[in-house]
């Protein structure tokens, strides 16, 4: 029994000593992640401490320890803005923003993001939360119209540019084909004199048109793929962002071919038709 008492006394003494030692140690600093841009701008390194204040004057700062660097999610709406940002845990953020005069301030948030394990259940969760907590608006982030709006505008803008480009290219192609076909006026005349039928010449012309159109489309796609990296690198350097400006996907390539080939063939067909309708002797006369 005396031994047991001695052990208990020793344990209590050690525990008390450890508590005293720990109490004398400073509390660990809250951890933050710092954006690459801010790290570069302020020459920061992982392990450095950071003093942040919600006041512009920097009064009453909070101190954090940098535990990592991150690349901010690219946002076309903030293109050109310096992404000097910090990511921190919600309680730390509340502590920075909290008004010491208002004890409830540290308990209030306007919005939070919740990650669900099953992505497909997002809408269902949002609907249930909205129904269960009156006055709360819950929605999937991908359904946020304010976030989607810039992309919708951008897509429409791209579509408009694409339509204008395709139309202008078609007119240019048609003019080019008209000149090309006119240069072959005598050749077509000679072939007709020899006895080539209109349909036969048209077959040749269309086959040539298909080859030219496919070659042109493939060349355009290869050129785009070749330039894709350069364009992205230039604008990513220019705006200091990870945003991808050009992306040539198989779908984009296929759509280009699907538009270019019929347009090319139609252009060469339209330009050849007037020539093939002309009288044979008129073709060899200048």
């Amino acid at each position: 029994m005396p031994i047991r008492r001695a052990v208990i006394a020793l344990t209590c003494a050690v525990t008390a000593a450890l508590s005293a030692i720990l109490a004398s140690q400073p509390a660990p600093l809250p951890e933050v992640l710092v954006s690459r841009q801010l790290m570069e701008a302020q020459h920061l390194q992982v392990g450095d401490t950071l003093r942040l204040s919600s006041a512009a004057s920097g009064v009453d700062p909070h101190v954090y320890r940098i535990v990592g660097e991150y690349e901010p999610t690219p946002d076309p709406m903030r293109l050109g803005a310096a992404r000097l940002e910090v990511r921190m845990h919600l309680p730390d953020l509340l502590a920075v923003e909290a008004n010491p005069q208002n004890p409830l301030d540290g308990e209030t948030v306007d919005a939070i993001n919740v990650s669900v394990t099953n992505e497909g259940a997002g809408s269902d969760v949002a609907r249930r939360v909205s129904g269960a907590i009156p006055g709360t608006a819950a929605q999937r982030t991908s359904d946020d119209q304010r976030r989607a709006a810039p992309f919708v505008v951008l897509e429409r803008f791209h579509l408009a540019i694409a339509i204008v480009t395709v139309l202008a290219s078609s007119v240019f192609l048609l003019a080019l084909m008209l000149m090309l076909v006119d240069e072959r006026r005598a050749t077509v005349g000679v072939l007709r004199l020899i006895g080539f039928r209109r349909g036969r010449i048209l077959q040749h012309v269309l086959a040539e048109g298909v080859v030219i159109a496919i070659t042109g489309a493939v060349f355009g796609i290869l050129l785009s793929i070749g330039m894709e990296g350069g364009i992205n690198r230039f604008f990513q350097w220019r705006y200091d962002t990870a945003l991808v400006f050009v992306r040539i996907t198989p779908s984009v390539a296929l759509r280009s071919i699907a538009i270019a080939v019929p347009l090319g063939v139609a252009s060469i067909f339209a330009s050849s038709w007037s020539l093939l309708r002309a009288e044979v002797f008129a073709l060899t006369r200048r």
């Binding site: 020899i194 039928r197 044979v280």
Partner: protein, 228 residues
């Protein structure tokens, strides 16, 4: 003997801004296989228009043309093309060789279109180039040939599918005297080998070589001469 060509009261009117132009008026003509005919006349008298109609290139606005007993006016464009391909050869003042092809390839083109097998085409092409004395120039392009040589290649091309009728529009018009004489001799040979030949020319000496000569004026045949 059934005539190869029978033109019955052919007329051709071109609607022009200043009023219709009568290029041919009431032309009647028969021509048998192997015959040699030259047509002379002043510019604008309708010689070339007549040649185009005889060659199934153009159609008359009145009258009719029978080619080998077939009414050309009733034929579709494709059928007239077929006649030109297989039965008629053309030679023009400006040669009209395809510039991107060699002499041999120019002679090969009509045969290929007519569906002649490749080996036969190659043999026929060399035979024709030897016929016109240009076998050694087979691989030359038109730009590498003299005017006389280019015209000889054009004649070889015109004969490629063994036509029954050879039509020549001013074949010596762009040639010097020696080359013109060479072409005239070649046309004589073509005719003596059994092909009917019609030559439109301003060259009196060339016209005199034919046993049958037409003189045209104002769209009409003014005079027809035969030499025995």
């Amino acid at each position: 003997m059934t005539p190869l060509i029978e033109a019955r009261t052919l007329g051709k009117v071109f609607p022009m801004g200043g009023g219709p132009v009568h290029a041919l008026r009431d032309i009647s003509l028969q021509m048998c296989a192997g015959e040699y005919l030259t047509i002379r006349g002043p510019s604008g008298c309708g010689k070339s228009t007549l040649l185009h109609i005889l060659g199934c290139v153009d159609t008359p606005t009145s009258g009719s043309l029978l080619f080998d007993s077939r009414d050309v006016g009733s034929l579709a464009d494709a059928e007239r093309s077929e006649i030109r391909l297989r039965s008629i050869g053309f030679v023009f003042q400006r040669f009209f060789l395809l510039p991107m092809l060699t002499a041999a390839e120019n002679v090969d083109v009509p045969q290929a279109e007519a569906g002649v097998p490749k080996a036969d085409r190659r043999r026929r092409t060399m035979e024709l180039l030897e016929y016109v004395g240009l076998a050694h120039r087979a691989d030359h392009r038109p730009s590498q040939l003299s005017g006389g040589e280019a015209q000889r290649v054009a004649i070889a091309r015109a004969l490629a599918n063994r036509p029954r009728l050879l039509l020549a529009d001013e074949p010596t018009g762009e040639l010097d005297r020696a080359n013109g004489e060479h072409i005239a001799e070649l046309l004589d040979r073509v005719q003596s080998d059994g092909t009917a030949v019609v030559v439109v020319t301003h060259d009196g000496a060339l016209a005199e070589r034919a046993p049958r000569r037409l003189l045209m004026r104002d769209g009409r045949i003014e005079q027809e001469e035969f030499r025995r």
